[in-house]
Symmetry: C2
């Protein structure tokens, strides 16, 4: 766990630093043109660099490792819920995601690195705990005891949490995020292992940041400056009035409404995108058009970013100067370099000096729209959250930024680059939160010079950010903690909580969270912890149905003494993962259910023909050789080709008709079975709570009558199966 | 949920205010004697008032409502795990706990109000959601839909969380505390309902505090001053160095060791106490001796509190003056009253003025030991956490306070008053944390006048508090969040996390957490989420055992067509809560298992004799009258006396020998059953995860062969049953 945390922390640090470096390199190259007000050259320069980045970023995803696209978060959620997804956890995907994410964010698309960081964290958790890699083809002799699906799931969970912890420097927030959104199974032991992992991740990122800083500058290795650590530190804690809850509730409602709108538009765009791309038949052209879409989005985004700021005048940067001098985001402090800040854009250069009383004075100016649209989202959030900067941003720039950001981030999410939505969500929310704050200021007329009061646009920006994030993701606890951890403002926890709660309530009226909508769109057989099936607008009461209503009947069963040829035949002709084993005690009795055995175990058994016997051998089973449990339980068949060859041989060669195998020592005697009259609700709970993959249905005499798999009880399948039934039948009859 | 939150918040507010008022009243009465250095009169005065309080507090618990004793927290944990406990959730217990807790804390015992607040929160959650009270004998026609055990459990969970949220003003911390320690069952819907409940509780407490403040003073209703809101606000955030992690780890190790020691001593004391008291046969004398023990503890505590400070000289209160003037704890700000602070004790009165530069100067002095021992724990923690007060407390006072506090709080916990352990734990930890901080100062020689550095005893006090709390309770996540919420110091979250993690790891080497030790001491059949059975030092692998090893064989079963007389007989002669129902399809077949039916359902059925039939009636069951499911599913039998009378009549009257009842419409067809060869591990998981109360064991032909109840699979029962088995037998054989 500690190792995973450190690795994820290192990855998070590099992601952040490389994005920062590339982004600033880009704008430095364009700086000369900006200062000359040469719009076309700026545009060409920024767009050119951006396009080059996107070609690599999107090309990687499209042609090289499709599993990296777009954010990986739904895939991780789906995997932890119990769905197997190919390739999402291999080394190729890791590097693909890393490069694609870094370049996509640096290119200026309205997206953030959070979703991919969670995905990368999960990959690290997976890979490091196993010390093996299929892609690289090695398997080290460490940690073999962790090579089972339960431990692997735990490591993935912890890695995902560490991803969030590292990117936000919010260890507890990362842990809670995983608990609330990502993990489907959870116990207290896992909780504190994840806690430790997140701690190590945040610690490593901090340590690397400071040491890197120290390397380039007069910084001090291992000296954690509070100001560097906390992402969006707000310095003035505000006393709070109960009246502040009224605008908070308004912001919450707005957040719920806009969040629901965002989800609805995003899902429509994604569904449309899938439809269009699926219509293209040739792989290469389909992939090329995905790439072209990403380029198109970048072109639009870059055009807006470069063009819009020319319409805005320069504004004195009095209170922003504090932030710039603190340099929360730059590894290279600006007071030792002569670099211009991006937000100064085409404004004349200014200087900063200290007056006789030692107070900083400045005649620097900055461009509001450039600060909001050109800067990357993180820096923008920083500016918006800042307290005591009542008049830095006007309605015009805020509204402009809001509309473009909302639309473009909605369009960007789901395109063929590895990108996350968290920063855009926080940013959009911060924009309208600040608008509400400005409105309040206009109405109540608070003077800037007054002592800190609760009517502060910076506070409302934070509330807005939380509300929109909540409206889209429907997170509550983890979001509140993350907000506290990134702003270091425990005082406003109550208003944040209110905004988050209201936004979630309002949003839930319209649709479900973005992640669950994406899971549905991607047809993951995701199982909620509680079944909730609607027929039209009507909630179907699953107590009125029984297990037999959803099971797949006519299951192929195996016998305790199974004929080899028919077994091979069964394995060739079906693709089920597990088979019930039955036993007929004597002539009078029916075949009763004993347990289940999985496909891979059967294949492993068939590869060892010393355990076969002919019917003439009699039944001294105990003296016959049998395999140990460890020998047949494998994650993956060692040699698929050989198995296929063997199966073919067994099923066609008539000699194997007379061979049998005794399945008794190998079957899973603890396989859960339910009787067919079990209520469907209860069946679902058993399936989901115990994390089953398949559930045998038996009748009251313990005969196998059907099987239920994960796909059978996903919500949409249940709607199909039960929607047209007459649900008014009496359950007691 | 909102209502529960508000109620709990109100309760929390009153608890806090009344304790504060009583405590200060007591010391004001003694103030004159203290100033005259009249030790005996002070002692008599303080002890007298304290004894009076304890007589009421302990007397209430001992004679009036034993369920209130001591902290209620293990009982709530046990209840939510699925154990029914009598009387813990009624109105009498609520008031008993309230009064007992308030008086116990105010009397000066080394305890806090947290455990009882959780208990009271749970009672409110229980009572308010049901709108009925057995004790008061009413049942309102609201919320009838919440009168089922699942919803009730959720409301109790939320109420318990709100208790913590209110007492610490830490809404997220409360929620996580419940998640980590209290609740056994948990889903995401409950999480955010609890979130809302905790939010309302913290909000209500805040609102009441400010309005109360406004009533007495120039405060302002609904205006949340940051300083009033945050319990132990530390003002100077410190930049952190990586070297700070070394003393942090040392503190963590200390916390783990001392925590384990504390648990071990406390459990020994409690076990001894139970042994002694159980040896006393007469109820009245036993209760009286419980009361006397509480009085004895108070006498010792009060003597130490009053006597020790006389040995300590007066110290200038330069940096403490800031805290006093801020008045974080007093509802009545001291700068408007002429009251002396308790920590001034027998020191001469001083004054505070502002010098020419507007800086506060003071010649006040205070008594270190009085500040630590006489003040209540909350105020003490406040003083210890304070940053920049490097030289306020010396080794002598800290060591003295530490030793007395550790011993007395260990003795107090478990005595017959409603009291919590959280404040004493935080305080003990803060004491040794500050000692470590002082040591560091001595070694590295940091000057007080220097700019804030990470070597600050206040910071280490906070780390120490977290580590000791973690060493005792083994909490991680919730503790970290609570520490952040009460100190408003996000910056030091990493060191807090490290200390907490180390303390937990070290502590786990020695014993389990205090709460689980208490649950074991009280013989609650508590089920951990994972089975962990040790035989001596050896972990027993439950995979090697099967369900049949722990089940109770020879179960009494019911038949689908059940004879009334034998049913009544069965109900009289057994006290099982549920019975399996079996059915014999034809002569050749064995009796197969169909489902279960509970005792209360059977009693309800027997009260309706219109559904009885004689064997001569034939079997046109569908035309016979039957009861609706709602009619027979009751939480509690409406008239126990009548049922007993009926049962007697049925079992003795020979006429009922020929009557039968058809159980088919009433039995629970979704009752989970496992086959007897199921592995014990898997059986435990199914039992625990699904939250069962009883589990039927069947053989492969679906015949009932045994039952497993909660008591059968508790850890100690498993040790008894399996400990002497030969666990080397081959599980595959």
């Amino acid at each position: 766990m500690g190792l995973i945390g450190m690795m994820v922390g290192t990855t998070g640090f590099f992601t952040h630093e490389i994005i920062h470096y590339l982004f600033h390199l880009k704008w430095e190259l364009a700086d000369a043109y900006i200062q000359n007000n040469d719009f076309y050259m700026t545009w060409i320069c920024i767009l050119g660099i951006g396009l080059a980045m996107i070609v690599v970023s999107s090309g990687l995803v499209v042609f090289f490792c499709p599993s990296s696209s777009p954010s990986g978060l739904p895939e991780v959620i789906g995997f932890l819920n119990g769905t197997a997804v190919d390739h999402i956890f291999n080394v190729k995907t890791f590097f693909g995601t890393f490069i694609s994410c870094v370049l996509a964010v640096a290119s200026g698309l309205f997206c953030g690195p959070e979703g991919p960081m969670v995905h990368m964290g999960a990959i690290i958790g997976f890979g490091l705990s196993q010390f093996e890699s299929e892609t690289l083809g090695f398997q080290l002799p460490f940690f073999t005891r962790f090579r089972n699906s339960a431990d692997r799931r735990n490591f993935i969970t912890a890695g995902a949490g560490a991803g969030i912890a590292s990117v936000f420097r919010a260890p507890v927030g990362g842990l809670l995020f995983v608990l609330e959104e990502v993990a489907s199974f959870w116990d207290i032991r896992l909780a504190w292992q994840t806690f430790f992992c997140c701690l190590m991740a945040a610690f490593t990122t901090d340590l690397l940041s400071t040491s890197f800083n120290g390397f380039l500058n007069r910084g001090h290795f291992g000296f954690f400056k509070a100001e560097n650590r906390i992402l969006f530190w707000v310095k003035n804690l505000l006393d709070m009035s109960v009246i502040a809850f009224i605008p908070t509730i308004i912001i919450g409602i707005l957040g719920g409404l806009l969040g629901a709108l965002f989800i609805s538009i995003n899902i429509k765009i994604n569904a449309f995108r899938i439809k269009i791309f699926d219509a293209i038949e040739r792989d290469f052209i389909r992939n090329l058009s995905k790439l072209l879409e990403a380029l198109l989005i970048l072109t639009a985004t870059a055009t807006v970013s470069v063009y819009i700021p020319y319409f805005f005048p320069c504004t004195p940067a009095v209170s922003l100067e504090d932030i710039n001098s603190d340099n929360l985001f730059h590894s290279i402090p600006s007071n030792t370099s002569s670099l211009r800040d991006i937000s100064e854009y085409n404004c004349p250069a200014g200087i900063t000096w200290q007056d006789n009383n030692g107070i900083r004075q400045t005649n620097r100016t900055f461009n509001q729209a450039a600060a909001l649209l050109v800067e990357n989202g993180k820096r923008g959030i920083m500016l918006l959250f800042q307290r005591g900067t009542h008049e830095e941003f006007g309605y015009a720039s805020l509204f402009t930024a809001l509309s473009f950001y909302f639309l473009f981030s909605c369009w960007t999410a789901g395109t063929a680059v590895a990108s996350g939505l968290v920063i855009p969500m926080l940013y959009t929310g911060a924009l309208y939160g600040r608008i509400i704050g400005l409105l309040l200021m206009t109405i109540f007329g608070v003077e800037v010079e007054e002592s800190p009061s609760w009517i502060d646009p910076g506070l409302f920006a934070a509330i807005g950010a939380a509300s929109f994030f909540s409206g889209v993701s429907r997170l509550t606890i983890s979001l509140t903690v993350i907000m506290v951890e990134i702003t270091n403002d425990v005082q406003s926890i109550l208003v944040i909580m209110v905004a988050v709660t209201v936004a979630k309530m309002i949003g839930d009226l319209f649709n479900s969270s973005l992640y669950s909508a994406l899971l549905k769109l991607k047809s993951f057989p995701y199982l909620d912890s509680m079944p909730c099936v609607f027929h039209g607008k009507k909630l179907i009461n699953l107590e009125l149905f029984s297990a037999s209503d959803v099971m797949t009947p006519h299951v192929r069963v195996l016998y305790l003494h199974q004929n080899i040829a028919s077994l091979a035949d069964l394995l060739i002709n079906t693709n089920h993962c597990a088979f019930p084993v039955v036993y007929k005690p004597d002539q009078e009795h029916v075949e009763i259910f004993l347990g289940t055995i999985t496909r891979s175990e059967l294949c492993m058994l068939l590869m060892n023909d010393q355990i076969f016997y002919t019917s003439s051998d009699g039944e001294p089973f105990n003296s016959r050789p049998y395999l140990k449990y460890e020998e047949i339980t494998v994650e993956k068949l060692p040699d698929v080709a050989q198995v296929t060859r063997l199966l073919d041989q067994y099923s066609t060669d008539p000699e194997y008709q007379k061979f049998f195998i005794n399945l008794k020592p190998y079957l899973n005697k603890s396989a859960v079975a339910v009787q067919s009259q079990f209520s469907l609700h209860r069946t679902y709970i058993i399936f989901r709570t115990l994390g089953l993959r398949h559930l045998t249905v038996v009748n009251s005499r313990n005969q196998v009558v059907g099987m239920i798999t994960r796909k059978d009880i996903t919500t949409w399948r249940l709607v199909d199966k039960l929607g047209f039934c007459d649900s008014d039948e009496d359950p007691l009859d």
